[in-house]
């Protein structure tokens, strides 16, 4: 399927990416090329096949519902772009 420039813009926005205008045309070609190549999967008969989401056969383990970690405020915010008194400082989002 061909991905036109408008679709590239939409996908970039869904991806929370902002690509410069002069890159959109090239991206349209690259993404179309990749998706066109992927189309060959349509040749495979998958009737009645269950989707495979993992290679692990064992059931997902459950841990006891107890507090096992915590009280690490300094570590949690250690890599934040901006912090104050153990909080993340984020840009103002409500005017």
């Amino acid at each position: 399927m061909a991905i036109d420039v408008a679709t590239v813009k939409k996908v970039a926005s869904l991806s929370r990416l902002r690509e410069p205008e002069d890159r959109l045309q090239a991206l349209s070609g690259e993404l179309s090329g990749i998706l066109g190549w992927i189309e060959q999967l349509n040749e495979v008969d998958v009737a009645g096949v269950e989707p495979m989401t993992t290679a692990v056969e064992q059931p997902t383990p459950l841990r006891d519902d107890v507090v096992s970690d915590g009280d690490k405020v300094a570590q949690v915010v250690a890599n934040a772009p901006k912090t104050a008194e153990g909080f993340f400082i984020v840009p103002k989002v409500v005017e």
């Binding site: 869904l14 990416l17 902002r18 998958v46 989707p51 772009p81 993340f88």
Partner: protein
Amino acid sequence: MSNLTHLTLKDAVDGLKSKQFSSAELTDAFIGAIESANPALNAYVETTFDKARAQAAASDAKLAKGEGGRLEGAPLGIKDLYCTAGVRTTACSGILSNFVPTYESTVTQNLWDDGAVMLGKLNMDEFAMGSSNETSHWGPVTNPWKSRGSNAALTPGGSSGGSASAVAADLCLAATASDTGGSIRQPAAFTGTVGIKPTYGRCSRYGMVAFASSLDQAGPITKTVADSAILLQSMCSHDAKDSTSLTVPVPDFASFVGKSVKGLRIGIPDEYRLDGIPAEIDALWEQGIAWLKDAGAEIVRISLPHTKYALPCYYIIAPAEASSNLARYDGMRYGHRTDKAQGLTDVYELSRSEGFGKEVKRRIMIGTYVLSAGFYDAYYVKALKVRRRIAEDFINAWNSCDVILTPATPSAAFELGDQAKAADPVAMYLNDVFTVTTNLAGLPGMSVPAGLDSQGLPLGLQVIGKTLDEGTVFAVGAALEQAAGFSAKPSKWW
């Protein structure tokens, strides 16, 4: 003792235990080698020499008392994908360029618990997305190997290019790496080193920067098959912090190295004979078949009918998982935040667009597209069904064989800056054509150096095993290694 850096991991560990040299001497030898080589090879993106010297001193104290773990005093390189507490970990992405983890990955913790020494963090493709190490935020790695009569810089492969280059150039005894579609085995093949990706779930993914969680798996790059058994042994463990970590005992991998392959049935898949593959790759494959036959193995022709769909299947599943995993980089809690934003959407979009490289953005968009409303069933669910078909191919093959032999890569190392591959992402993706099937099926796969091409560049063979049967992979890998007698090293030009 001269040339301590040329030792294998096994010989170094034995030499340390028998006090032929100290960890401090060994560590200093590697520090000297890195200082002189790294400006040319760019294998390390961060060195931790002070930490290495402190760890070496602690190891020497233990060794002096006749104590110490299985890696006591052994200097290793760590792929920059593994979180190391207090040591910058970037996954070679601009968005994590200042990230200093406050915790340690389980795999690296296992190594330190066994006494290993950390020399530094190794270069890689950004978020492990690439086959040439050219997508790294810190610039490409150069392969220590060169084509005969040419001075052109070659790729060490990717994504674990730094690991492969460092091991091949004797800048560490061995290195950790990781493999989502071939990222351990392809660089190993390109550099004359040994790389193994174990069964999915053998190694904990806790503290490994995530790319595609259902495919990512840790493993070592080493100089010999015996070394890979030693290092993988340390890396594997059950870990409650990773819900896909297997609750199975880890066998003594080293005990399989040198074991006879007599009577083993070696599967040779028809579908791995591809058009346009260099004759030398096919010839090496035939040679490998002959070696195993000579060692008493039985050669069985098998069919893996869905092989050609593995790469397109992977290029839906891996980007889909990546687009979800990389949504965490939002400029809020850690990682790069733009200083040009006017509002909330601006912060997200500009932080991400400034922080991520071209290939990573391309894959996020592919992943977002195949998961978006209207395309989810046609692309993503379809790929998950094809993935099961590919896994079933192997299950059927195990009825007639015990292990599978294939080439590791469709070519030898190519030049950095290859224009055809830069212009066509699919041409670059084809590097993983022989390796990606095992990631989809969760199987162990090893690349063993088996010969040189006419340009003097190393080529590898791949051994694929059954789920949890790394033992047979080590036995066959070691048999190939012995028959090949591969001892070539790159001539030192750096």
